[in-house]
Point group: C2
């Protein structure tokens, strides 16, 4: 938990209790790609007064400071990912899980470069289908 405190300070984010808890949750649920709702529900067990707005605000701050990133591939909600390295995802149409996949891909590693004259800041790749557990 002290590690998380330090991470926040390093990024210039005031380490409040709520922020610590959100980042702690993200760190412990590396492969979850949770929604705001999932984080809120879980934290509310420990912090009954926490508000949904705070979770939104916190994640907004984290994204700004590059601590997490938003994954917008379901079409209905934003999922959050503490792994900010450019990597690819698999979205299961049956269970809704988002899973990291490790594919060598020429899309990777081009930040700052151009495609067709457009300046690249982020690179995203994902598959949709049926995940291993749902087949």
């Amino acid at each position: 938990m002290e590690k998380i405190n330090i991470t926040l300070k390093e990024k210039g984010i005031k380490p409040t209790y709520q922020r610590l808890k959100v980042l702690d949750y993200m760190s412990k649920n590396l492969r979850n790609h949770p929604t705001v709702e999932m984080i809120y529900e879980e934290l509310a067990k420990e912090i009954p007064t926490i508000s949904l707005t705070t979770v939104y605000n916190t994640l907004g701050t984290f994204i700004e400071k590059g601590l997490v990133c938003g994954v917008t591939i379901t079409g209905t909600e934003v999922r959050y990912d503490i792994n900010t390295e450019s990597h690819h995802h698999f979205l299961c149409k049956k269970c809704g899980d988002i899973i990291d996949v490790d594919v060598p891909c020429s899309l990777s590693g081009k930040k700052g470069e151009l495609v067709d004259g457009h300046k690249i800041e982020e690179i995203h790749g994902y598959f949709k289908g049926t995940c291993r557990s749902c087949i």
Copy 2:
């Protein structure tokens, strides 16, 4: 317009006036990746009685039958694409435009195959950044 009629029949979709018009719009706006709202606004000029629900229903049917596909990369709304061939996109953070990009990419051409044991049905890749016109 007759061509569009035939396309609908081939796909087993009853070619109603509204559906013809939606598909016609999509065909004439190949590079737009429009929202439901954009399609609705435009068609409402010619068909004042058309309803937003019809546009949603129509696009839903088109997606089911493989006539168009949904592009869910902005995080706020679904954009529609009449190009159903697997290809990649560029989302401009300034103007919001979605532009097709032609990148050779190992993500392509793997439908039916597996990644990490997950069965692939769709492959998507996109960049975010500043488009050519906004630089």
